[in-house]
């Protein structure tokens, strides 16, 4: 039992660390973009490998625990939440890496940016923090805000598309730059969805209920 507790603690802690890293990559990729900071963008790209490492390690550990101990109740709910959430966290981090790559490209241009990106970044960060904290604290606190935030993110994504097209029509020379910005808005919108998916799994872990937050 002690060994089981220890193995569970380790896999839960690693998942918390992976979540924290994903939050950190998101914050850095958004600020790299808004501050035109290529050094920070490069650091996001470099740190993505750590996410890949956690993804493999946690999956392996979780499967080993399932095989050896046949856990039940809160333990099986925690493990199934972990196995799903690490995929969403990995996808979040991948979107951060792509945002950082976009910054490196934008840096070589006039760094034109669609105005919605800043608010979208703030919302995506808040959403991922709510979900990752929920896992860490085994709590659904703040989850009721996620749907509203996600709706706002989707609306901003739509208006960023319209704005982006308008900017391109006005200044076709800067098409490449605006296209990057439009793509980043897509990354941030996806991160919002991934935050909702993590929160759905955390709700299952905590309450034993399947809910739909990302609609």
């Amino acid at each position: 039992m002690k060994k089981f507790e220890e193995d569970m603690r380790k896999v839960v802690n690693n998942t918390c660390d992976m979540g924290s890293l994903a939050v950190s990559l998101l914050k850095d990729s958004v600020s790299a973009l808004t501050d035109d900071d290529t050094e920070k963008a490069q650091s996001v790209i470099d740190r993505f490998d750590r996410i890949t490492y956690y993804d493999g390690l946690i999956e392996e550990d979780a499967i080993r625990i399932l095989t050896l101990y046949q856990p039940t109740a809160i333990d099986i709910r925690t493990l199934s939440t972990i196995l799903k959430s690490i995929t969403y966290m990995e996808r979040t981090a991948k979107n951060c890496k792509n945002t950082a790559k976009a910054e490196l490209i934008l840096h070589e241009t006039k760094h034109n940016q669609i105005p919605e990106i800043e608010e979208m970044g703030r919302i995506a960060i808040e959403m991922i923090e709510i979900s990752v904290n929920g896992f860490r604290n085994k709590s659904v606190e703040g989850f009721d805000r996620l749907r509203t935030l996600d709706d706002r993110l989707d609306a901003l994504r739509n208006s960023s598309l319209a704005d982006g097209v308008a900017f391109i029509e006005k200044d076709p020379q800067e098409t490449a730059s605006y296209l990057q910005s439009i793509t980043v808005s897509r990354y941030l919108e996806r991160i919002g969805d991934q935050a909702c998916k993590i929160a759905e799994k955390v709700t299952y872990m905590v309450c034993g209920k399947h809910v739909e937050i990302d609609t």
């Binding site: 039992m1 089981f4 046949q70 856990p71 039940t72 109740a73 809160i74 333990d75 099986i76 709910r77 034993g208």
Partner: protein
């Protein structure tokens, strides 16, 4: 998974049981649904075997044992003094922890009960032997040596023979008291498959220390502790999201 509610074949309500001065069961209630496997789990001494044995009045054999409350088999009180114990045990058979075949041939083990209940026709007895051995998934292994001693069979085969013997009197409920604890994993798996197969025609109540076994084969699970039924629900709920903290601590191994 949605589990449909079946008819309640055995209704246990507010049962209290004493061994002399010592109370072993406290206000235990449990509806046993027909054609379902109901598992009883809990730590040693929690009362699960006592409860199981009270379902066909096996506790009558324990001196100083006293029971109060309601235990109705198809609406008929099992403990009504006018009921014949043998006819109750004919309808509610029991399988024990260690296989206990009689020291006689395979065939005689099975025909023993029917003969006691007055069946003498050889053809009918042979039919019972084949039917019950088929049902107990043992016919293919012993069909050609029915007159050999039952004691020459392996432990797993002996246990399946005991199940065949229990089936020979056409019971409606089979009570199993840790039926696989003395068996290896392969024999255990055969008994588990058999229990699942039997639920088409019979109702099974099983006491087990093996929680994976309860979760693998049962539809309903009761968790008992200190003589009380702490929680009784669909097996999936008990093992995924139990309502009671005591149940959660027990099934996740964080007990004591």
């Amino acid at each position: 998974m949605v589990i449909r509610m079946n008819e309640i074949i055995l209704d246990i309500k507010d049962v209290n049981l004493w061994y002399g001065e010592k109370q072993a069961l406290f206000d235990v209630s449990m509806p046993v649904e027909s054609n379902r496997i109901t598992a009883l789990i809990g730590p040693s001494g929690c009362g699960k075997s006592t409860l199981l044995r009270s379902m066909n009045r096996m506790n009558d054999l324990v001196s100083g044992c006293r029971i109060e409350g309601k235990m109705e088999f198809r609406g008929n009180d099992i403990y009504d003094p006018s009921n014949d114990v043998n006819s109750i045990r004919k309808k509610i058979g029991m399988i024990f922890q260690r296989p206990n075949p009689f020291p006689m041939s395979i065939r005689d083990n099975i025909t023993y009960g029917p003969k006691i209940h007055g069946i003498t026709d050889k053809k009918e007895l042979n039919e019972i032997v084949e039917r019950t051995l088929q049902q107990a998934a043992l016919w293919d292994e012993v069909g050609d040596r029915l007159d050999k001693s039952a004691l020459a069979l392996s432990g797993g085969q002996q246990q399946r023979l005991c199940i065949a013997r229990a089936l020979s009197t056409n019971p409606e409920i089979i009570l199993m008291d840790e039926p696989t604890s003395a068996l290896d994993p392969i024999a255990t798996s055969k008994i588990e498959d058999l229990a699942c197969e039997l639920q088409k025609d019979y109702t099974v109540v099983i006491v087990t220390h093996n929680m994976q076994q309860a979760s693998r084969i049962s539809d309903k699970t009761g968790f008992m502790y200190l003589g009380k039924m702490i929680e009784f629900d669909d097996t999936e709920k008990i093992f995924n999201k139990p309502k009671e903290e005591t149940t959660e601590r027990y099934i996740t191994g964080r007990f004591g």
